[in-house]
């Protein structure tokens, strides 16, 4: 059986920018363990002859012709922005990245 550790949950939470309390880490570790265990059971029946599914519809090569379609106006695009400046989305200081 897979074992999801508290540290792994903390790591995932950090990557997903989720702030979890110590008791939540324990709680989710148990829940995620259950979910992964359930999914692992599917792998038991899916042998080499069953290809993995990434999409519910049996489609391939759905493509669009390279033709310009109308965009939103800048006003529309920015209408939901919490802050804007110079017709651009204004975001807080970006730290710790390049």
């Amino acid at each position: 059986m897979p074992g999801i550790t508290r540290e792994e949950v903390a790591h995932l939470a950090r990557l997903a920018r989720l702030e979890l309390k110590p008791e939540e880490l324990d709680h989710f570790a148990g829940q995620l363990d259950d979910i992964i265990g359930a999914v692992a059971r599917v792998s038991e029946v899916a042998d080499q002859d069953v290809p993995p599914t990434s999409h519910p519809l049996p489609l391939t090569n759905v493509m669009r012709v390279d033709e310009v379609r109308p965009s939103l106006t800048p006003e529309q695009a920015l209408s939901g922005a919490p802050a804007q400046e110079q017709q651009r989305f204004k975001v807080p200081q970006i730290l710790g990245e390049d």
């Binding site: 995932l12 090569n61 759905v62 390279d66 379609r69 695009a77 989305f89 200081q93 710790g96």
Partner: protein
């Protein structure tokens, strides 16, 4: 960060270590629309005027892949001698950074559309080096950030940032080499030659203009050193966004000297990204890699797999243009020039203009002469690419035709070209308006020749005495008197005729 970087000399570094490189090149495709939506990719539009719910990552918006984007990826893969996947998917690369409003970049992970290829590149001295290609995959560009409040627009010290998402979603093809081994001291040169050859290839395919100065093609240089004789690679650094051919070479060279200094003093290389600085040719530390690499890729559920049929792939293969290196070698023979000349022509971006000028009727020598002389100079002065000069190959061909038929000499032809560049119209109009015709009126010429002989009796005597080379001075006098509008060859003939000597 502020301390200076220790370096050892390039020669010493190579004496102890063997460099291994990996090059990642991003090419922005020249499609009309973005990779997953119909927003225009036109440059220079006002901020956030080319966005839609899909490229802004609005809930419920669904992407649909651009057919030309896929076709371009297959063409690039084929031209790089890659295998083309029979079936592949897109994947989400998850990260939090405001340049992607979706909080993920749609890319490809373990199923690239093209893989296992190579590109032969030619070094300055003619040696051919084979660079193996690991993969080429499809993805999308990010938005453009402007950092406000810090010094010189840098992120450090900025109070906030402003985002324009016009570029977010523009199709990118990322081309990744296998580790480049065995280049030794020529590693930086190989890196430069590879990026240059790739650029030629991309342009020949017509899938992008691949202009590095406009960010349409960007290179990340991965580099590590290992002691001679050791198989195992050392720890690498990744220098991001190196955006000119010269910088690719300099960045690789700098990293070799820096790594060698760290290693030879007993230190260890930190796996990190580094920034290249054009002004100093040096790199500085960016972010440490390990955590940032946790992108939690998973197959993109909103897009269906891409399965290029073998018929389609073969159709595209059949339509591929000649490989640029093979083409250059063929043209070199046709034009009767050496490898070095061809390299200069390539570096000047003059191959296509010269070919087009020859196709428009000029001879190879004249076409080369104008594009590599007068026009290269003009492009240099105005800081433009040759092909952006306001003169067409057909116009250059017309000028050479006028020279061939004797209506213009070289000096006048230069003025005609100057006139065309200045927007004075077609070559014939410039000739007309500026009154630039070779004086072929024999009467006027004969008078000028007589005057030149009479005015320079000493030189005339020398010529009579058999010193034919001295005629140049008299030709010069006639050209001056006719303000350069005489046919110099005819003038010389007349002078020799008058003085009763014939050209040995």
């Amino acid at each position: 960060m502020t301390t200076t970087t220790d370096l050892v000399s390039y020669e010493d570094a190579l004496a102890s270590y063997d460099p291994v490189m990996g090059l990642e090149v991003h090419v922005e495709l020249g499609t009309k629309t973005k990779m997953f939506c119909g927003c225009s990719t036109e440059l220079g539009a006002e901020p956030n005027s080319q966005t839609c719910p899909t490229c802004l990552g609005m809930p419920g918006a669904l992407p649909v892949v651009n057919a030309i984007g896929v076709e371009s990826a297959v063409k690039i893969g084929l031209a790089l001698h890659c295998e083309i996947a029979e079936w592949c998917r897109f994947a989400r690369k998850n990260y939090f950074y405001p340049d992607m409003p979706k909080n993920f970049q749609t890319s490809q992970y373990d199923e690239p559309i093209a893989f296992n290829g190579y590109l032969d590149v030619q070094l300055e001295d003619g040696e051919v080096f084979r660079v193996e290609i690991e993969r080429a995959h499809m993805e999308e560009d990010t938005g453009k950030s402007t950092h406000v409040g810090g010094a010189t627009g840098r992120i450090h010290g900025a109070s906030h940032s402003l985002l324009d998402y016009n570029r977010a979603g523009i199709p990118l093809i990322e081309i990744v080499t296998k580790p480049i081994e065995g280049a030794g001291e020529r590693a930086p040169e190989v890196a430069k030659a590879y990026v240059a050859e790739l650029r030629e290839l991309i342009r020949a395919l017509g899938v992008s203009e691949a202009r590095m100065e406009m960010g349409q093609m960007r290179c990340d240089v991965n580099l590590s050193l290992r002691p001679h004789g050791r198989e195992k690679f050392g720890t690498r650094s990744e220098t991001k966004n190196v955006n000119s051919l010269r910088s690719v070479e300099r960045a690789a060279r700098f990293e070799i000297m820096r790594h060698a200094a760290v290693l030879s003093s007993g230190g260890t290389i930190i796996q990190e990204t580094r920034h290249f600085h054009e002004d100093t040719g040096s790199t500085t530390s960016g972010r440490v890699k390990e955590e940032a690499e946790d992108y939690r890729y998973f197959p993109e559920p909103d897009l269906v797999p891409v399965a290029p049929s073998r018929e389609w792939v073969e159709e595209l293969r059949a339509g591929l243009p000649e490989q640029p290196l093979a083409r250059r070698n063929r043209l070199r023979e046709e034009w009767g020039i050496g490898a070095h000349d061809m390299q200069s022509i390539l570096n000047a971006g003059a191959i296509d203009p010269i070919v087009a000028t020859i196709e428009a009727g000029a001879d190879a020598t004249s076409a080369r002469k104008w594009w590599m002389g007068e026009l290269a100079r003009s492009a240099n002065e105005s800081g433009k690419a040759l092909e952006d000069l306001p003169i067409t190959p057909a116009q250059v061909a017309r000028v050479t035709a006028l020279v061939t038929e004797g209506s213009l000499n070289d000096k006048l032809a230069r003025q005609v070209i100057e006139g065309v560049l200045a927007g004075e119209g077609e070559p014939d109009e410039v000739v007309e308006k500026r009154g630039l015709k070779v004086v072929s009126d024999e009467g006027a010429l004969t008078t000028a020749v007589d005057e030149a002989i009479a005015g320079n009796p000493g030189i005339a005597d020398k010529i009579r005495g058999g010193k034919v080379q001295a005629a140049g001075a008299l030709v010069g006098a006639v050209m001056k008197a006719t303000r350069g509008q005489a046919d110099a060859a005819r003038v010389k003939e007349l002078i020799l005729e008058k003085l009763g000597v014939s050209e040995g």
